[in-house]
């Protein structure tokens, strides 16, 4: 379900993109949605500072920035490095690189949604709404921290035996 105008006005969003022009465009889209607060960072170090002292509702990040260090930034959020923000904070990857390796890398780093460029305002609204309103089960195990990577319910019986990794999440 899409976010209502009232819900949008209450959101605090961080945009992390070294491409100032793309960041500005995304900012304009979110501004048109009347998002409560939008912070733009063009370096990962400034993004880390904001992450450490600002309570956020969502992050838009392009992980290709700074030689793919954006990926480490996503992992840092998922590992709970920020006292102000939960590990479950929705992260939307905003990328122009859509080859399968990149998508798998992003998914494995724990992104919530992926917006591939060209992005349209309708797509941004839909992904933002999905990331905030339809959060998937959060997995926290040794090999992976992030939203459940399975989106579809499979028409197979759920595992109910021992060693269910989902039960390790509450460690």
């Amino acid at each position: 379900m899409e976010l209502t105008s009232t819900e949008l006005t209450k959101l605090k969003v961080l945009i992390v993109d070294s491409n100032v022009f793309i960041a500005k465009t995304l900012f304009s889209i979110l501004e048109a949605f009347e998002i409560g607060s939008i912070i733009v960072c063009d370096t990962l170090s400034s993004a880390e500072k904001h992450l450490g002292n600002t309570e956020l509702d969502c992050i838009f990040v392009d992980f290709m920035m700074e030689d793919r260090a954006g990926l480490d930034f996503i992992k840092m959020v998922r590992e709970g490095a920020s006292p102000e923000n939960e590990q479950t904070l929705p992260i939307i990857l905003n990328t122009g690189v859509t080859d399968i390796d990149t998508i798998v890398m992003a998914r494995d780093a724990g992104v919530t949604e992926i917006i591939s460029k060209p992005f349209s305002p309708a797509q941004v609204l839909q992904k933002l709404s999905n990331a905030i309103n339809n959060q998937r089960e959060f997995i926290d195990v040794d090999e992976y921290i992030g939203p459940n990577r399975r989106r579809r319910k499979m028409s197979i019986m759920e595992w109910d035996g021992e060693n269910d990794r989902r039960l390790q999440t509450d460690k």
Binding site: E2, T4, S28, I29, G96, P121, L125
Partner: protein, 129 residues
Amino acid sequence: MNKDQNDMITRAEEAVEKAAIEFTANLIQRVSNLEKSIHNNDRENVIKMAYELETEAATFGWPRVTRLSKWLRKVFSGDFDRKPEAELVLSTLNALKLMVSDPENQNEERDLQLFKELYPDLSKVISDI
């Protein structure tokens, strides 16, 4: 979608349209800067500029410019299946220059034709193009 949301989307689309005009206005200069960096063998700058051009062109509806920029980015990142001849890099650059030569009047048909001609050689270097 209710009226509020429709209005919101319309406002956002207008903002994207403004950004697209700004992008188009600087396109020739951007490709020229990319060309200079290639000629100076400034690898780091080429990767950065090609990636920026790739993502912005994708955002503002220049699909062939996106793919040629992607090809250049991957070549200069060393992320290729086979090392390209210098001549192919120059041909790609020339195609890119032609595609943006009159940005106000984008010629989809010509750009597609140019891309089709280059594609067999480009895909030998990077299969995922």
